[in-house]
């Protein structure tokens, strides 16, 4: 007798979000990228459709990232004084599918860059590369709230992904995205309840924005609470597939930033000889973190090391191979 294989049936799908806009669509990108749309848990192609590949981005700053580990100088040292050239190298040489420009320079304690400086940095990246862009502030809400509207306006038509919106501070960035039709990163502190609530609040400001949200559940690096982020993302994705519209958004994570904060990635070999060679160890730390999040359904990963990007892309190629039967 033939064995009937039981397959899970899902009631709903994750929403799709298109990032970037080509000339015909009012922007200047060479192509757009669509994320989301999953009709099953990650890579269970035999249970539902996984229509879009997860995307890997590299991180570019609007200032020299003095706080990064010195080993990055050999990759980015020749370009990191100019965000346009830096972004171009990331795309042309390292194969980044998106660029995240972090306007760290706007932080008054670092460079105190003006709004115009920040617009200039974003424009340089837009001119230098054709991939869709992610734009995030310096991380200080009082500063970032002054940046969102002018940048959103200056890049109107580009269909950016902008962020970040948080529960206590979402109105400025939401309005900026609403007015200029950009997409928004909704960030919650490893908390499914706040994640859902924030999505509801953004959707209450504009129902159209509900289809432009990318969830940033806040991820932790391997060894620093990865299991908490993982289970939150798993819960959100299960909710989405069961029909919870307020959790049915694609997800993004700052894998590079978090992984290269870990002691295990930064400790030179001389300090811990038994841990082995530092750079290889750091790449593994970042790649392992990334691969775990691929399994929890992440759609966009912002990485830092070019070698990690290669490894993760190969992993994505494997995961996207059809395993349906």
């Amino acid at each position: 007798m033939a064995v009937e294989i039981l397959k899970e049936k899902y009631r709903s799908t994750v929403g799709e979000v298109v990032l970037g806009a080509t000339k015909d669509q009012g922007g200047t990108r060479s192509h757009t990228i669509t994320v989301g749309g999953e009709g099953a848990l990650p890579y269970l192609h035999f249970e539902g459709s996984i229509p879009n590949r997860p995307v890997v981005a590299l991180e570019v700053w609007d200032m020299v990232p003095a706080e990064w580990d010195p080993l990055f100088e050999k990759y980015y040292g020749d370009v990191w004084s100019d965000p346009g050239t830096w972004a171009k190298k990331c795309v042309d040489e390292f194969g980044a599918e998106m660029i995240q420009i972090r306007l760290k320079g706007a932080d008054p304690d670092l460079k105190g860059a003006s709004v115009d400086d920040c617009i200039g940095a974003v424009k340089k990246v837009l001119e230098a590369v054709g991939v869709p862009l992610i734009v995030v502030g310096c991380g200080k809400p009082e500063v970032d709230n002054t940046l969102y509207a002018p940048i959103a306006e200056a890049a109107a038509g580009e269909n950016l992904l902008m962020g970040v919106a948080e529960l206590e501070n979402y109105k400025a960035v939401t309005s900026a995205c609403m007015a200029n039709q950009h997409n928004i990163i909704a960030q919650s502190p490893i908390d499914i309840n706040i994640c859902k609530q924030l999505n509801i609040l953004i959707a209450e400001m504009s129902t159209a924005m509900a289809n432009r949200i990318i969830i940033d559940p806040t991820i932790a690096a391997l060894g620093y609470g990865i299991e908490y982020s993982y289970s939150i993302m798993e819960r959100a994705r299960n909710g989405a597939l069961q029909g919870d519209k307020m959790l049915a958004m694609p997800m993004i994570g700052n894998v590079g930033l978090e992984s290269w904060r870990a002691k295990e990635a930064n400790q030179p070999e001389a300090g811990e000889p038994s841990w082995g060679e530092q750079e290889e160890r750091g790449i593994l730390w970042e790649a392992t973190t990334a691969m775990a999040y691929l399994q929890s359904g992440i759609n966009i990963m912002v990485l830092r090391h070019p070698e990690t990007l290669k490894v993760v892309k190969a992993n994505i190629d494997d995961l996207m191979k059809d395993n349906s039967y």
Partner: protein, 264 residues
């Protein structure tokens, strides 16, 4: 819990008048209102006083579908009226209802199989409503078995254990709750369960309080669906809260709004 909005029923004076005058306004208003407040199905009942049940049902189904996209729960003891409704339903409907009496089961299950409809099966037969849980479960098992003979999967079946007013038959309360739990053991997949919620409070004061208290107790015992007053906000809030406690929805501060707005 699947909410079946009870309000389009000829027992209510405004709907009875609307049917008599063929005035679609009250019917469509209630269709929209119930959908707006979170109903998943609209119950359609022509009421006892309609001389032409078939004509009235056809008209009600037509006008309700003009106002709302919700699936319908066709509620009548006259099976010709239900069949007339099934013919024009734009999406699979629910038949409300059939008791565990062979002739009626044969008529209704054949019709359900033909139109792909779900069926509410009543845990009663020619002898009336049983007093205890065991007899109710036996009748539920009979409904499941006969439905199966017509190729209807148990999960297309909603068993109504029949709750009686708590001031008349107080001892039935615990029997109904036990029935709800044990019905799930009859088959795999298990049949679903439904109650006509407002029955529990007929003739009492504090009707709404009793309704919503029973609703959450029944949910905790596995109830899948209820024929309820979808415009009783406190009832809907209690159901939304019970869903959170039972881990059926993910909590957020606006969970009540989200539950009520689900169909908007």
């Amino acid at each position: 819990m699947i909410i079946i909005g009870e309000r389009i029923n000829g027992m209510f004076k405004d709907i009875a008048r609307a049917i008599k005058d063929r005035d679609p306004v009250p019917v469509q208003e209630w269709a929209r209102k119930q959908e707006h407040n979170g109903a998943h199905y609209l119950d359609i009942n022509v009421g006892p006083s309609s001389p032409d049940a078939v004509g009235a049902m056809t008209w009600l189904v037509e006008v309700a579908q003009e106002a709302s996209k919700l699936p319908l729960c066709l509620d009548s003891t006259k099976y010709d009226a239900i069949e007339a409704g099934l013919k024009i339903c734009k999406q699979p409907a629910m038949i409300n209802s059939v008791p565990a009496e062979m002739a009626k089961m044969e008529r209704v299950f054949a019709m359900a199989a033909e139109y792909g409809a779900e069926v509410i099966g009543l845990a009663m037969n020619e002898e009336g409503i049983p007093k205890d849980a065991d007899s109710r479960i036996a009748l539920a098992a009979e409904l499941v078995a006969v439905a199966d003979g017509f190729g209807i999967s148990p999960d297309m079946l909603y068993i109504d254990p029949l709750v009686l007013p708590c001031n008349v038959a107080q001892d039935h309360g615990t029997e109904v709750l036990r029935t709800l739990r044990e019905i799930k053991l009859i088959s795999d997949p298990a049949p679903k369960t439904v109650v006509g919620l407002s029955n529990v409070s007929q003739g009492t004061k504090n009707r709404e309080l009793i309704n919503r208290t029973f609703a959450v107790m029944a949910m905790a015992n596995g109830l899948d669906a209820g024929i309820v007053d979808a415009n009783d906000d406190e009832l809907m809030e209690a159901i939304a809260s019970a869903r959170i406690i039972m881990n059926m929805d993910i909590y957020c501060d606006s969970y009540v709004d989200v539950f009520m707005q689900r169909n908007r």
